[in-house]
Amino acid sequence: MAEGVDKAREEFFSEAQELVESLSRNLLALDAAVRAKTEDPGLVNEAFRAVHTLKGLAGLFGAKRVGTLSHRLEDVLDSLRLGRLPLTESVLDLLFRAVELYGDALSVERARSDDPLPAIDALIDEFAHLGSEGPSGTSPLAKFELDQAMLAVLTEYEEHRLKTCVQQGLLLYRVRVDFALATIDRALEDIKARAKTHGEVITYLPTGASTGIDTIELDLLLASASSLAELEASLASNGAIIEPIRLRRVEATSARSAPSLGPSAPPTPSPPAPLPAHSLSERAPDAVEPNAAAHRAIAQTVRVDIRKLDALMNVVGELAIVKNALARMSERIRAEGGRQLGSELHSIQRSFERRLGEMQNGILEVRMVPLGQVFDRLARVVRQIGREMGKDIRLVITGAETEIDKLIVEELSDPLMHVVRNAIDHGIEVAEERLRVGKPLAGTIALNAFQKGNHVVIEVEDDGHGIDETALVDRAVVLGMVDPEEVAQLARSEIFNLVFLPGLSTKKEASDYSGRGVGMDVVKTNISKLGGVIDLHSEAEIGTKLTITLPVTLAIVSALLVRIVGRVFAMPLTSVAEAITLDEKQVRMLDGREVMTLRGVTLPICRLGRIFGLAPLPGVVPPKRQYVVVATLGSRRLGFAVDDLQGQQDIVIKPLGKSLSGVRGFSGATELGDQRVALVLDPAALIEEMLRGSETARERRLGYG
């Protein structure tokens, strides 16, 4: 019983979250529309609906704060959609604040806390102060011969839309369609989508008359700039009968005396009154398809708790272990002479392996969500901070459809938020400064995402003034993070990486948003926890680009098993570029590090046995030939010298447990299927550690251990 309630509550939270996100997307689109000085009444209406649904849900689950907020927000959106309140930037500000408050309100409700949220009352207060415009005087509808019975059943909103359309000079049409009950959904979606390319469907009115018992006749009231002929060309295939709603004749201009009533009267395509100033977007009729498909897709989705997928993934992981055991058994049987039996077992095991692979991919796919989810949230932050800091920011997003593991997406939000804040606060100059250096007034922040092999790359780029390298180094020296004598030896990329040291900020005064010196190191830690790396590059006066490289998923990984001084380790294949034979003659020392040259590029070498301080196991003969596994992460490369390569295997990484969680260089442990356990190397952490070897030495001198 209690479990059922909890489950329902959980569903409430995830549904509420989705509604808030969809509200946020609507507001962002509205914001864009307002800036572009266009109008999209559908967006206001959708926002209204989302809040409306949210209010209902909140009532159902006793989420009072969410309910109160929704209730007031609904009123505001209602006024907006009815045209009682003009949509301005400041109204949008309030709406965006409401979106942020939903986040707070939901987490308070989730914690079942009774803490009041004064911010909600404050916002509601501000809502109350929004001006309200009275309804306009004479009805613009008077000039159309509209059926009073039809007008009587329009809701206030529909009537408002109808008036607005008429004021914009659109013509009105009655589109009569007879729908078969069995296929009404699809047929309707189809005709709705087609009609929408011509204008706005004000309402759908059942006529009450039908040709048969299995059909329903509907009148669509359509406001459109298209001519009757155009509409007929596009809608006739749906069996629609289209009649223009005629303009009322004004006596003085009426030359003809024919009565205007009567269905048999030939449709008079009255010369359109002033054409709409902004023409409706011309969409090809085939734009109908994706719409209909999207509609169906929504109805066929289920919401699944990610923990269920984790549990499934674990089972797949266990099965992978069983599969490995099977493979070994078939090998053994074959080796022991059971040829026939061995190869039969082998072929069963192969087909098991294939199906298991499919299943694993299937589950992985289900876990994938588009990065757009995070980007939407960032878009809100950009807008808000930009406005509050008085900086005009243009956000350009590409690759929002790039997919990544749901768990990673959730952890990405905070670090990215921080990075974007930094970019606006530290990166983008104030307007006067931008004018002075001849940059466009609006600063640009680009969010780019794309998949690169088994990784997803996210770039955050700004066109601000870049990072002041000298100031950065000076600050690091003052804080004792860098030895003044070694400053000259720092490579440029190493200088930029100073940004990620804890406690470092070049901004003299902390603003509300960034510059407190906590942040970039936390960002880096969070990204590392996800198995990712972060690179920063900056050019003075041109801008800064931060590149985050992340694995596509954390759930299951293909790993290369390597042997080092008699022990087996697993190295995730996502970061392995290649494996080559180690030629000791090629290894030379450079700045106190072992390096070799691979295809003309210097490659630092790391001997893991030495790093981990592994003593050779008794009876293990040092191998004659060693290998170098080349790992790459972002722009960094490192060669790991290992004794042997033992093949590839899919592994499920299990955490090391609390007592070992502080150990760097390992992301966990895994079972290999033959009762053996192997540690999983964390190439990101190891590369990190190795490539700042000189720094660690320094830290030791400074007593950081």
Partner: protein
């Protein structure tokens, strides 16, 4: 809202066993209507397709359903729409926000009224 209405109707024992048929919107309601008769229709005003006023008018002009009681769910703010709904033939309304108990008592009243005037089955 639909889920709320359904759970409100199905919880509590004062209404007895209620058979709730749920329509996803105005069109869906039109499609489900011929499967009636129903003892009561509960409708919102703002729906994604056909609006509640149109639905009420449709029901009131349909020979099979014209005497089916209609209960309107409306918001405080949409007074104009509520008045229109009542003038088009809705039998009563519940203003949002309401509790499950509010809804059940309104439904009960409508059902009892319906039973005394015309016998419905279902």
């Amino acid at each position: 809202m639909r889920a709320f209405v359904r759970s409100a109707l199905e919880s509590g024992s004062d209404l007895g066993e209620v058979d709730v048929v749920e329509a996803s919107g105005g069109f869906d309601a039109l499609r489900l209507l011929p499967r009636g008769p129903y003892d009561l229709v509960i409708t919102d005003i703002n729906m994604p397709d056909i609006n509640g006023l149109e639905l009420i008018q449709f029901i009131r002009t349909n020979e099979h359903h014209r005497s089916t009681p209609i209960l309107l769910i409306s918001t405080q703010s949409s007074e104009r729409d509520r008045k229109r709904a009542l003038s088009l033939g809705a039998d009563g309304y519940v203003a949002k926000p309401f509790t499950p108990e509010d809804l059940r008592s309104r439904v009960k009243a409508q059902l009892e009224k319906g039973r005394t005037s015309a016998r419905g089955n279902g």
